[in-house]
């Protein structure tokens, strides 16, 4: 049984320096409402976990809330770069540990299924094996397989303190509907200690006999938060597309200006400004 709480209360639970998993990827289904509230409450030293770092990671970096990231890619989209993330890593303000995408998926899966490490065939012959903050032997190990003797790469599992995922619908029992690609949200959420879900709509009981949904999952989060337009300006499949105009502003305008216009106002004001707008 999940607990339905307000966005503010949920963010208050997260102390500075937490390890946070963000769902979605690139410009798809990022928990942006949650991310904006994190910035408003001035959280610091967050340790971000994800597979494909999206706009949420870039925005938190721009706000100075991040000290470490463990990701596979920063890219938002072909034409859009995660400029703040790239700049901050180049300036050594953020420590970044880059794994291959499959390695990162497996680390979350390992955390979700409660095993200490996962074997994989990827990450051979790459310089991504060199660690930054995880230290020698903490990032990746190559060992001989105990059965056949052939070398195999092992990556440590990961258990974030908090996992946040944005979904289309959730009910008070904690069932959710996700539409579009699932990404690594299920594993990431199951691996996390505190499981948070922000939903476009919270209903009493979800009807899973509904047809036409890409995918639905029962993930039983600890807390459900209602957040309309919670993924804006990224896309939430079947609810709205990405807001190209706003994303353009994110890239063109300096951060302070964007912050004053689109992050600092209350979430209710943002929803009001978006209501009726064609996205």
């Amino acid at each position: 049984m999940a607990e339905v709480i307000a966005l503010k209360e949920a963010v208050k639970m997260i102390p500075d320096g937490s390890m946070v998993f963000f769902g979605g990827s690139g410009l798809n289904r990022n928990p942006m409402a949650f991310c904006r509230e994190l910035i408003r409450q001035n959280k610091k030293n967050l340790h971000l976990i994800g597979v494909f770092g999206g706009l949420a990671a870039d925005m938190l970096t721009a706000a100075g809330a991040v000290s470490r990231v463990e990701l596979a890619e920063f890219s938002l989209e072909d034409e859009m770069d995660a400029l703040y993330l790239r700049q901050q890593v180049a300036d050594c303000n953020i420590q970044a540990e880059i794994y291959s995408a499959y390695a990162m998926c497996l680390r979350l899966y390992g955390g979700a299924s409660g095993v200490p490490f996962m074997p994989l065939r990827s990450m051979i012959g790459t310089d991504l094996r060199k660690p930054t903050f995880r230290g020698e032997g903490g990032k990746l190990m190559t060992v001989a397989c105990p059965f056949t003797g052939e070398p195999v790469n092992l990556v440590p599992s990961i258990n974030p303190d908090v996992g946040v995922v944005h979904v289309l619908k959730a009910d008070i029992e904690g069932n959710v509907i996700i539409e579009g690609p699932l990404e690594s949200d299920l594993d990431g959420l199951l691996a996390s200690e505190i499981k948070l879900v922000t939903a476009e709509e919270v209903v009493e009981k979800l009807d899973f006999r509904l047809k036409g949904f890409y995918s639905w999952r029962v993930i039983l989060p600890n807390f459900v938060i209602e957040a309309k337009f919670g993924a804006w300006p990224t896309a939430a499949p079947s609810a709205y597309l990405r807001d190209v105009g706003n994303l353009g502003l994110w890239h063109m305008e300096p951060y302070d200006k964007y912050f004053a216009k689109f992050i600092a106002p209350k979430e209710s004001t943002i929803i009001k400004s978006l209501d009726g707008k064609k996205l």
Binding site: D78, A103, R121, S122, M123, G125, L128, P181, L182
Partner: protein
Amino acid sequence: MEKNYDNEDLMIVCAARLLPESGTVFAYKKNHIKAALLARLMRGGAPEVLTPGGFLDDEGRLIDFAGSTKNVFEYLQGGYVDVGFVSGDEVDRYGNVNGWVTGSIKKPQNVFEGGGLACDVVNLANSTFIMATSEQLRKCSFFSAPGYLKGGKSRLKEGLYNDGPVYIICELCVFDFHPKSKKARVLGLFPDVKKSEVADKIGWRAKWPWKVPVIYPPTEEELEALEKATSYIG
């Protein structure tokens, strides 16, 4: 005759022509997906197109895929993907790709997107096509995705038993790799591109055949299909 295409179009058309007749292709950038869809449109339903989100249909929409990103990579690791597309910010003459940093990790000069996906593709797909612009063809100091490493048998010695990069496709020409030394050599030039132009623009010395073939321009059908593929993906 007036040119009704640009070299970026021909780059995608070339990639589509080189793709196998059947099997599965892994693509993750817009360029890659366009090439794979173009091949699919030209051949009527093959090869299958796999993206990190799942399989695509003829019109570039995601087919209902009951799985996560991890399941997609399991496809790759299981050896079910015949060709994987790769892009990076630096590509050297042995097909090594850098998508992460220049300089050292501790003191980076320039930071790119990360390159974690490219690393998986070259490690796990049976063979790889590299798509890059000519400016990206230069020496790399950091191999985020290993090609033929230092050439010769060094890829095999490192423990990578799949085929590795097969072609480098840029907007001037197409390279393949010498079977023994594994150095990039020019397979064919695009129409109207001169040898000196390639030599000037790229950052390493390519091997040249005695007589350099010229790749034929895209046909009407190919351009039509490309327009379709572009309209599907945007």
